[in-house]
């Protein structure tokens, strides 16, 4: 039971013992892929050195390769840079982007799309507002009844509903999220970056697992 790891670690420390094997010391590795998030509400939290936007777009690319229709919902102030998304292999002509006036409207628009059952993946980019508009916590932008309805619709239509939020656990969307991960970007050798999706909550498989992928920086970033 991976979910018991933190409790076991505490117990071992309390008794003054040491861990004999490496199984409990390192988080388990699993693939963070579309199959793992279908039918669920997923929250990708972005800290300051994050790559949540990249991780979400990688999932969009995977959804497209599996024949699913994907939609990206965002406020008008900012968006992913489309040439970078195209470089990830995403077919921009088939990616529906819904740009609403305010971040508060993103979840309402997602509800409309989710009800149709016509989409296999919906990404709600709540971290899109420019740096000057960070005062409002992302949680206040998604009312709980709406989140609950999105969860039910995700399950009914086997659809992945991915939220991109900013901040730590305190700023999380809450208990209705089925999987929550923090996406951390670290500099690796030769101008590459290791992007680690560290799952801190998983109602199906338990928390504590992670998935690591290597990326290059955009042109000009060394």
């Amino acid at each position: 039971m991976v979910s018991a790891v933190p409790l076991l670690k505490d117990e071992i420390a309390r008794r003054g013992l040491r861990i004999a094997g490496a199984a409990l010391a390192e988080p388990a590795t699993r693939r963070f892929e579309l199959a793992a998030i279908q039918g669920r509400i997923v929250e990708l939290s972005a800290g300051t050195s994050s790559a949540a936007l990249t991780a979400a777009l990688v999932l969009v690319g995977e959804a497209q390769r599996k024949g699913e229709t994907a939609a990206w919902l965002t406020a008008r102030g900012a968006s992913f840079f489309p040439p970078d998304a195209a470089a990830l292999g995403i077919d921009l002509a088939a990616l529906v982007v819904v740009r609403v006036p305010e971040a508060q409207d993103v979840a309402r628009a997602a509800d409309r799309l989710a009800r149709s059952g016509g989409f296999g993946m919906v990404v709600l980019d709540l971290g899109a507002t420019p740096a000057t508009d960070n005062r409002q916590p992302t949680t206040s932008r998604v009312p709980v009844p709406l989140l609950s309805r999105l969860g039910a619709l995700a399950q009914r239509h086997n659809m992945a509903v991915v939220f991109l939020t900013k901040g730590d656990a305190a700023g999380s969307l809450g208990s209705l999220v089925s999987l929550r991960a923090e996406v951390v970007r670290r500099r690796a050798k030769s101008g590459r970056f290791a992007v680690s999706v560290e799952v801190v909550k998983d109602k199906r498989a338990g928390p504590g697992w992670r998935h690591v992928e290597v990326f290059y920086g955009p042109a000009g970033l060394r």
Partner: protein, 470 residues
């Protein structure tokens, strides 16, 4: 104001290509062409759609002097409407068919619009000629390479130093027919005015509309909806008589003292189902802010040919694209036509011009490129670059490689000091023909680990945050 106008809608050929396959043109082709022509007909009833070159339109503006003070004012109004409709365009107002066509083809930049950023400041205004002589002189100077002529013929003419329209017209037409392609001969006749045929405008179909008098005047969305509902059967009957179905409805709400509000509701797919349209009208009426009590409603149904459902012999996809399109139509109704878009990449220099958001109505099956071994990180781009002073970036030290670059900044502005310098400067420039833009882009890392994409505007001498790597 007896003038002839040529309008080139640069984005239209690409939109039309989506509905064309090996010479076969689908219903969407005609619809896209008609929609573009409808915008132009708002400014002149005489609009000719070019069969030879998709995107080219000719218009006659004679008799409009009582509505517009000058041809320039008319052209500016037309340009504004085309910008609002999302068309990248070029306009020339002159006297002869070839003259305006040649000048339009010679315009270096188009007038375009980014919904979030407003009209493109780097674009040119419509060209309006005051005399036929000025127009002719301008047309003769246009290089032949600007026209869709066969490349072989262009190359052969260039070797003979025949590079402009004037050079070509100096040659005898019969000799051109003997030596070059048929197209060169026809172009010569067109340029010399021999093929200056009168305008042959297409007649638009009569509108299918109903006027509903709201008595007593009312502003309750639900009551207005029910009044519209009563008018719908008659509108649907009339559209059915034309063997067509409804693609949407245009509503014109009149308030007292000639104040009017105009809104268009479009269906995801043309349909006979009245209920789907009523549902979208309800959403639109809910979102409209009515300035006064409504006294009259004019409802005009937009007709379209019915699209036959294609029988699928292979497995049906698990998702219903029609349901997805209905949901998108609802979002368009609720948040506006520019809310549902897709990105189209363009060959431009400045980051914000390297793509354009274009409205999307249909959900297309994806054709993604297989994923490579290692992808690239994605940047988040701000619609309007933020001045660094408002971004809480760490402030000031002269040792910074970036700060030394910025000696002429205003003393009050904060100076950028990254903790790590990850790339740059990469100079991007553009708009030299109108408003020069010169930027030095850098990737910098803050002490919190953020990788920011900033630029120094060399013209304005200010720093801006344009995005971040996420």
């Amino acid at each position: 104001m007896d003038r002839l106008v040529c309008v080139d809608l640069l984005d239209l050929p690409e939109r039309l290509r989506e509905h064309e396959h090996r010479g076969w043109r689908g219903e969407g082709y005609r619809r896209a062409l008609d929609e573009a022509a409808a915008v132009l007909r708002g400014f002149s009833p005489r609009v000719e759609i070019s069969d030879d070159e998709p995107g080219i339109f000719f218009m006659d503006v004679s008799g409009l002097q009582s509505l517009y003070k000058s041809a320039s004012q008319w052209a500016a109004a037309l340009s504004g409407a085309l910008v609002a409709a999302g068309h990248e365009h070029r306009i020339a107002v002159g006297f002869s068919r070839f003259g305006v066509y040649a000048v339009v083809k010679n315009q270096p930049s188009a007038i375009s619009h980014q919904p979030s950023a407003g009209p493109n400041p780097n674009s040119k205004l419509p060209i309006v000629f005051r005399s036929p002589a000025a127009e002719r002189a301008a047309a003769l100077r246009v290089r032949l390479a600007r026209f869709p002529l066969p490349p072989d013929a262009l190359e052969a003419l260039k070797r003979l130093r025949v590079v402009t329209v004037g050079d070509l017209l100096a040659l005898p037409a019969d000799d051109l027919l003997a030596r070059y392609d048929d197209e060169v001969y026809r172009f010569h006749r067109f340029a010399s005015g021999e093929r200056d045929l009168p305008l042959s405008p297409q007649r638009p179909e009569e509108e299918i509309s109903e006027i509903i008098e709201v008595d007593p005047p009312d502003d309750n969305a639900m009551r207005l909806l029910f009044m519209l509902k009563q008018a719908m059967p008659s509108l649907y009957e009339r559209v059915a008589k034309r063997h067509k179905v409804a693609a949407g409805v245009a509503l014109e709400l009149s308030f007292g003292q000639s104040a009017k509000l105009y809104t268009v509701v479009r269906l995801a797919r043309p349909s006979r189902d009245e209920g789907v349209l009523m549902d979208l009208i309800r959403l639109r009426l809910d979102t409209l802010e009515l300035p006064d009590l409504v006294r009259e409603i004019r409802a005009t149904l937009i007709p379209a040919a019915e699209e036959p459902e294609q029988l699928l012999l292979v497995d049906r996809p698990a998702r219903d694209p029609a349901a997805a399109e209905r949901a998108l139509a609802r979002l368009r109704t609720e948040f506006g036509d520019h809310a549902v878009v897709r990105a189209r990449l363009r060959e431009r220099h400045l980051p914000e011009h390297r793509f354009v958001w274009e409205p999307v109505a249909r959900v297309a099956p994806a054709q993604p490129v297989p994923a490579g071994l290692a992808g690239t990180l994605v940047r988040r781009l701000y619609a309007s670059p933020l001045e660094v002073s408002s971004c809480q970036l760490p402030v000031a030290s002269r040792q910074s490689p970036v700060a030394t670059h910025d000696s002429r900044l205003q003393p009050s502005a904060p100076v950028l000091v990254p903790t790590a310098f990850l790339g740059g400067p990469y100079r991007l420039s553009g708009g030299w023909w109108r408003r020069p833009v010169e930027r030095d882009y850098y990737f910098v890392e803050t002490r919190r680990g953020e990788v920011l994409w900033v630029f120094y505007d060399r013209v304005r001498r200010r720093w801006f945050l344009h995005g971040r790597v996420e």
